[in-house]
C-alpha cells in the first residue's frame, strides 16, 4: 500500500501501462521534460524517452488526429489535453473521426486512444481552465467517458482506459489532484473494479445522491452533514455508459434522488440521468430527480466561482428540495 495523490496515482498507472505494453505512448503539450502542467506525466519522458512521451506542437486537433493515425498503426496513444477549455480545437477529430472509426470500418479498425483531460473548476484559474465538458462527450456515441474521485480509481481506471479497445475520455478532477489515498499498486489488475461500474461510496436509505469526479467529495460531505436523513452516495465513475443497475437499485430503495455535477445544469449529464431514472423508476419516486449543478452561463471569473459551482450548501439545498415532496 502506498499513499498516493490522485495525480500521482495516474502517473503510476501510466507508468505501469507503459511498462506492460511498449505500444503505449503519451503525447500532448508539455508532457515531456516538464511532466505536464500538473506533473501527471512526471519522469515518464526521462524513463521512456521522447519517442514514447511526445511533446507535440501546440495544436489539439493535431494531437488527436495524429493519435488516430498512431492507433491505426497499432499504438495506444494516451493524449493529454492540457485543460478542459482547450479541448474544442480537437472536437472534429474526436467527434467525427475517433468516435466513429470502429463503426465506419465495421469493426476492422480499433481506436484504443485515451484523452486525458484535467477538468472542472475551483482552482481560481483564468478563463477556459475550469470547464466541465462531459456532456459533449457523453452525447457522442462511440466514446466511453469516465472520471475518477479517488486515487485508487485513478490508478486502476487509467490502466483500464488504456487497455480498452475503445476510445476513452478520461476526465481528471483537477481540484482534487492532491487528494490522497492508500493504493495497492502491487495488486493484480483483475482485483480492480471495472471501469464501467458505479460505486456506492456511502450507503444510505432515505435518498440517493449521485455524483462523479470532483463532486463526490462534496456529496460525501453533504451526506455527513445531513443529520436528519440517511443519504446514499453513488460515485458514478463512468458517465458513458452509466451503470444504471447500481443506480436504479438504489433509487428503488430510497425513492428520492439528487444529482450533482459541476457542469451547467442545462442539457448536462444530470438531465439524462434524471430522465432515465424517471422512466425506469417512475412508481418508486417520491419526488422528481433534483439536479444541482452550475448555472447555464459561461464559467465566470474566478472570484465568482464559489457561487457558481455547486457547493455543500447547494447540494444540501437540493436534498432539502427532494424531501419537500
Amino acid at each position: 500500500m502506498t499513499d498516493l495523490t490522485i495525480g500521482k496515482a495516474i502517473n503510476a498507472g501510466l507508468r505501469r501501462a507503459m511498462e506492460n505494453d511498449p505500444k503505449v505512448l503519451v503525447m500532448g503539450e508539455d508532457v515531456g521534460r516538464l511532466g505536464g502542467v500538473f506533473r501527471v506525466t512526471d519522469q515518464l519522458h526521462k524513463d521512456f524517452g521522447a519517442e514514447r512521451v511526445i511533446d507535440t506542437p501546440l495544436a489539439e486537433s493535431g494531437i488527436v488526429g495524429t493519435a488516430i493515425g498512431l492507433a491505426l498503426r497499432g499504438y495506444r496513444p494516451v493524449c493529454e489535453i492540457q485543460f478542459d477549455g482547450f479541448f474544442f480545437p480537437a472536437a472534429n477529430q474526436t467527434f467525427t473521426q475517433l468516435a466513429k472509426m470502429r463503426r465506419r470500418s465495421a469493426g476492422t479498425l480499433s481506436m484504443p486512444v485515451v484523452l486525458r483531460i484535467p477538468y472542472g473548476g475551483g482552482i481560481g484559474a483564468v478563463e477556459h481552465h475550469s470547464e466541465s465538458p462531459e456532456a459533449y462527450f457523453a452525447h457522442t456515441a462511440g466514446l466511453r467517458v469516465v472520471t475518477v474521485a479517488n486515487a485508487v480509481d485513478a490508478y486502476w481506471m487509467i490502466q483500464q482506459a488504456i487497455t480498452s479497445d475503445d476510445p476513452v475520455v478520461f476526465l481528471e478532477p483537477k481540484r482534487r489532484y492532491y487528494e490522497k489515498a492508500a493504493v495497492d499498486t502491487s495488486a493484480s489488475p483483475e482485483s480492480a473494479e471495472p471501469m464501467g461500474a458505479a460505486r456506492i461510496a456511502r450507503p444510505g436509505t432515505d435518498a440517493t445522491l449521485i455524483a462523479y469526479g470532483p463532486m463526490v467529495k462534496t456529496a460525501l460531505q453533504a451526506a455527513e452533514a445531513d443529520e436528519d436523513h440517511s443519504i446514499e452516495v453513488i460515485d458514478l465513475r463512468s458517465i458513458s455508459p452509466v451503470d444504471y443497475d447500481t443506480v436504479t437499485a438504489s433509487v428503488r430503495r430510497t425513492g428520492r434522488v439528487v444529482i450533482t455535477h459541476e457542469a451547467p445544469v442545462g442539457n448536462g449529464v444530470g438531465a439524462e440521468i434524471a430522465a432515465r431514472i424517471t422512466e425506469d423508476c417512475f412508481y418508486h419516486l417520491e419526488a422528481p430527480v433534483i439536479r444541482v449543478g452550475a448555472f447555464d452561463t459561461p464559467y465566470p471569473q474566478s472570484r465568482l466561482e464559489e457561487h457558481y459551482l455547486p457547493d455543500l450548501d447547494r447540494v444540501l439545498d437540493g436534498v432539502d428540495r427532494a424531501f419537500a415532496y
Partner: protein, 371 residues
Amino acid sequence: MSDNTAHEEPELVQLLTPEGELRTHPDYPFEISGEEARGLYRDMVLVRRFDSEAVALQRQGELGLWASLLGQEAAQIGSGRALRDGDMAFPSYREHGVAWCREVPPRELLGMFRGVTNGGWDPNEHRLHLYTIVIGSQALHATGYAMGVQRDGAVGEDGEAVISYFGDGATSQGDTNEAFNYAAVNNAPVVFFCQNNQWAISEPLERQSRVPIYRRAAGFGFPGIRIDGNDVFASLAVTRAALDGAREGQGPTLIEAFTYRMGAHTTNDDPSRYRASAELEEWKRKDPISRLRAYLEKQGLAGEDFFAGVEAEADALGERVRRECRELPDPAPLEIFDEVYAEPHTGLDRQRAEFADYLASFEGAGAEGGR
C-alpha cells in the same frame, strides 16, 4: 479586393506532353518499359470506365451519390502505382484510381456511395485507409501513422512510406496545415499529394489560395513541387521519388498535381451554375488518357489490338460493376448497433434489445407491418 499578381503560373514537372511527347527533367530521370506504360494506360481506361458506370448507377438510383474522378486519372494512377505494397495511403473521397491500384474490389468501393456501409474495405488488407469525408482530417491520420512507422523503426533503406491525398480546397483547412507542421517537426515519412483540380465544389482556386499550393510546403520547412497532374509519368516519377525520400528518412514532401475536375463535384452538383464550359474544352485537350495513347501509338508500343483489348476489358468491368452494385445486400436493421464499441456498452446493449423487441412486435402483424 485581392491582387492577382501572384497567380502567374509556376513551373511544373511534365514528362509527357499533351501531344504524347516525352520530355526530360533534370531532377526526374525517367524510363519506362512498354509493358509498364501499357499497364498505366489500362489502369486509367478501366478506372475511367468504372467511374462513368458509377455515375450512371447513381442516375439510375442505385447509388446515393458519386464523386467522379474524371480528368484526374493520371494523378491518381501515377501516384497509386508509385506506392509499394507495404506503403500506406490515406485517401479523401475521390481516389477511385488509387483504390484501383490498391486492388479494392469495385463492389467494396461502391458500398459507401450506395449507403450499405460507411466504410467498405479492410484498410489493413489493401493498405488504403477508408475514404474520409470531413475535409483535411485524414492528413493528420496519415501523419500520425507515419510517426508510427518511425517508431517501428521502419524508416531507412527499404522502409515504409505513407501518402495522404486531398484536394485544393482542403489546403485551407486547419487540420491540413497542422498535418504539414507535425510532419515537418517530426520529419515523418509522409507524402502529401494534393490534387489541385482547381475547384472546391463551386469555388475556384483563388478563393482557397493566393499562391500556387506547392509553395505552402516551404513555409513549413519541407519541399513542395508542382507536377502536371494530367501526366501519368510525372505523377509516377515524382511520387516515387518523394516516397523514396520519405522511406529513407528525408521527411515529408508536398506534391501539387495540377489537374482539372472535368465532371461535376458530385452527382448532386451542377457546375453550369458557376463555371464556363470553355474551361472544360481547354482541359479536354490535356486529357490524361489520350496523351498516353498518343505516346503508345507514336512509340509503336501498342496497336489496335491492345486498345481494343482494353476496351473489351472495360466493357466487362462495366458489366461487373453494374451487377455487383445491384447485388450489394442491404444491412439488417440491428446492424445499427454493431461495432459502435469494441466491448459491451450497457446503455447501447439495452437499446439494441429494446429495438429488437420493437421490430419483433411487427412480426405476424400482417403483410404491411406496423400500422
